[in-house]
């Protein structure tokens, strides 16, 4: 293997310290890599490496524990918020967060999600909404847009057959125990900075036991959408953002 020499005085950018050297399985262009980077940077910058437990879902980010070098609990499909509930209740001074996709959080894990919000658990839920099941090969998710083609909606999502996409962020914002709900994206540098700021606030809320923080990231799945990474970002801005508008939905922190 070629040896790469690091010249620190010229270094303007590097892999976050808490991102491991494991080869990432994410597709080029996928939003997961960027969100992982933000999370790893924040844990390092906020000095939480010795005070954080994360819960990984079932879905593309099931292997998040291979990439962010902190303690992880790998959850059964949809159950991450229940697991996070116990971790935080039993270790109230820790940062506890889940990292979940739309199928995990908004379909099979609906009850666990809603009731952790109902109880106002002092956890952070990071919700990657890319409107598709990536890992299983691009099937319809609860957040799939009307008319969107997926492996299980080959003629487009038909409301008579499949119902309507729904907005978990808005549902989260309704709950009195929820402190902070925001919807962000990571499609350009300014958006990445805003998403990082949002996740930082959410992490502070968990450490301060201020109620649940729910950070939704509207994300791309270029493999599932069968578009190039650049075209995916365009498609997301044109189609996803009108359905899932960005910005804070609630901020009581």
């Amino acid at each position: 293997m070629m040896k790469v020499e690091k010249i620190s005085e010229n270094m303007v950018y590097q892999k976050p310290r808490l991102i491991t050297n494991n080869t990432m399985h994410y597709c080029p262009g996928c939003s997961h890599g960027t969100v992982h980077k933000i999370v790893a940077e924040l844990i390092d910058e906020m000095g939480l490496e010795d005070n954080a437990v994360a819960v990984s879902p079932v879905g593309c980010s099931v292997l998040a524990y291979n990439y962010i070098d902190i303690d992880w609990v790998q959850a059964a499909h949809g159950r991450a918020p229940a697991i996070a509930t116990a971790l935080k209740r039993l270790m109230p001074d820790r940062l506890v967060f889940t990292y979940q996709g739309d199928g995990d959080l908004a379909a099979i894990g609906t009850a666990e999600t809603i009731h952790s919000l109902v109880r106002g658990e002092n956890i952070v839920i990071i919700f990657i909404n890319n409107a598709i099941y990536g890992m299983t090969g691009g099937q319809m998710a609860p957040t799939t847009l009307i008319g969107q083609k997926t492996a299980t909606t080959p003629y487009g999502r038909d409301t008579a057959l499949n119902g309507f996409p729904y907005k978990m962020g808005e549902i989260a914002a309704m709950m009195p125990g929820v402190t902070y709900v925001t919807r962000q994206s990571v499609d350009k540098p300014a958006a990445v900075r805003a998403a990082k700021k949002a996740i930082k606030k959410a992490f502070e809320n968990s450490i301060g036991c201020k109620g649940t923080s729910f950070v939704e990231i509207v994300a791309t799945c270029n493999s599932g959408w069968k578009l190039s990474p650049v075209a995916s970002n365009d498609w997301m801005r044109e189609n996803m953002f009108p359905e899932y508008p960005l910005g804070d939905l609630k901020n009581n922190g």
């Binding site: 010795d50 303690d71 971790l87």
Partner: protein, 361 residues
């Protein structure tokens, strides 16, 4: 001084959990075991020992709260009854796969389906043989008194942590609801963070990665089949170790017995009366009471079968444990193995068991 109380089986589960230094209880109401969480909520242990008690939105959620607590090395417990255990089987498979210690109680009722709220022993297959997916085992303890309900909370936690495996107390609505005199466990404090780090530091996801110098992971995913086979071999080795070391079994007048009943839990109490009645009439009758259902007292039963004409498995089910009794006795042995029991929430009387055994003589 001994602390002696008159308590329901369900109540003593709660009291024993607090006294054993449990860190958390997560549950969902279901008859006939709701007194467990009711007692805990009444006792408010979070004000004394710091134990967390939480009512979840479902048994699916409560077993996953157990998964989270167990992952952090905490002594966590849940209880439910049969339909709730069906929902928990997903979580039990994950707990077994990730090798996490915890205590789960099934105060069983009649099934299948919504069944009844009366006592039953029809969940033997579910908890002893599996229930969830994959090759796994749970340590299964079968108390037959309120005293053992108390004692097995501490024992269950100890075995669970010794082997990093979920331990189950499999009991039923009768033992859960009946009141008996019970000597409470001595109080032991909850473990401190330092004690937990010492005992579970190489695996528990306590969030202390930097101090530990490596990240811990609770996980049952092995995408490479060869890795998963190795993991399974490791689990199987552990199960063989448990079979070798942890069998608990009570034998009543088995030495000279020609007719032996095998029964656990409530059914064993009924069979004790049958042994007494039959012995009075001069019949050489004995009782083997498995206290651990996994590990099963296979060798004890095999040895007893050598001098026995008939072994009768007496269960409040259509015949589940009898399969393990047959395996223990083996085809080559002349001893006949039969099953008797009422089920669906009906409990056999000593007279019915007496008649069933008499008919085999």
């Amino acid at each position: 001084m001994e602390d002696i109380k008159l308590l329901k089986g369900n109540e003593v589960l709660a009291i024993a959990a607090i006294r054993c230094g449990a860190d958390g209880y997560f549950g969902y109401p279901i008859t006939p075991q709701s007194e467990v969480m009711e007692t805990l909520m009444d006792e408010r242990p979070w004000l004394t020992t710091g134990m967390v008690v939480l009512q979840a939105e479902s048994e699916t959620s409560s077993i996953n709260m157990i998964y989270g607590g167990a992952a952090a090395g905490k002594r966590v417990m849940t209880s439910s009854s049969s339909p709730g255990l069906s929902l928990m089987c997903e979580g039990l498979s994950y707990l077994a796969g990730a090798e996490l210690p915890c205590l789960v109680v099934n105060v069983a009722r009649g099934g299948p389906g919504l069944g009844s709220i009366q006592a039953s022993q029809a969940d033997y297959f579910q908890l002893v043989k599996g229930g969830g997916h994959g090759d796994y085992k749970l340590i299964v303890l079968a108390p037959n008194s309120v005293q053992e309900m108390n004692d097995f909370v501490g024992l269950g936690f100890d075995l669970a942590f010794k082997y990093r495996i979920p331990a189950v107390i499999l009991t039923d609505g009768i033992i859960g609801q009946m009141m008996e005199k019970v000597t409470l466990s001595p109080e032991r404090p909850r473990r401190t963070e330092e004690e937990l780090a010492k005992e579970c530091g190489d695996w528990a996801t306590t969030g202390r990665k930097a101090s530990r110098g490596k990240a811990n992971l609770a996980n049952s995913l092995f995408l490479d089949s060869v890795d998963l086979e190795q993991h399974n071999l490791h689990l199987q080795k552990k199960y063989r170790e448990i079979e070798k070391n942890e069998v608990l079994c009570e034998q009543i007048q088995v030495e000279d017995a020609e007719y032996i009943m095998v029964a656990y839990g409530t059914s064993s109490r009924i069979c004790m009366k049958v042994v007494e009645d039959m012995r009075k009439e001069g019949h050489k009758v004995g009782l083997i009471r498995p206290i651990t259902l996994f590990p099963f007292p296979t060798e004890i039963i095999a040895k007893a079968a050598e001098h026995s004409k008939v072994i009768l498995s007496v269960e409040m089910s259509a015949g589940q444990m009898v399969e393990d009794v047959r395996l223990a006795v083996g085809c080559a042995c002349k001893c006949r193995v039969e099953h008797f029991g009422r089920f669906g929430g009906v409990v056999h009387s000593p007279a019915e068991v007496y008649e069933a055994l008499k008919a085999l003589m």
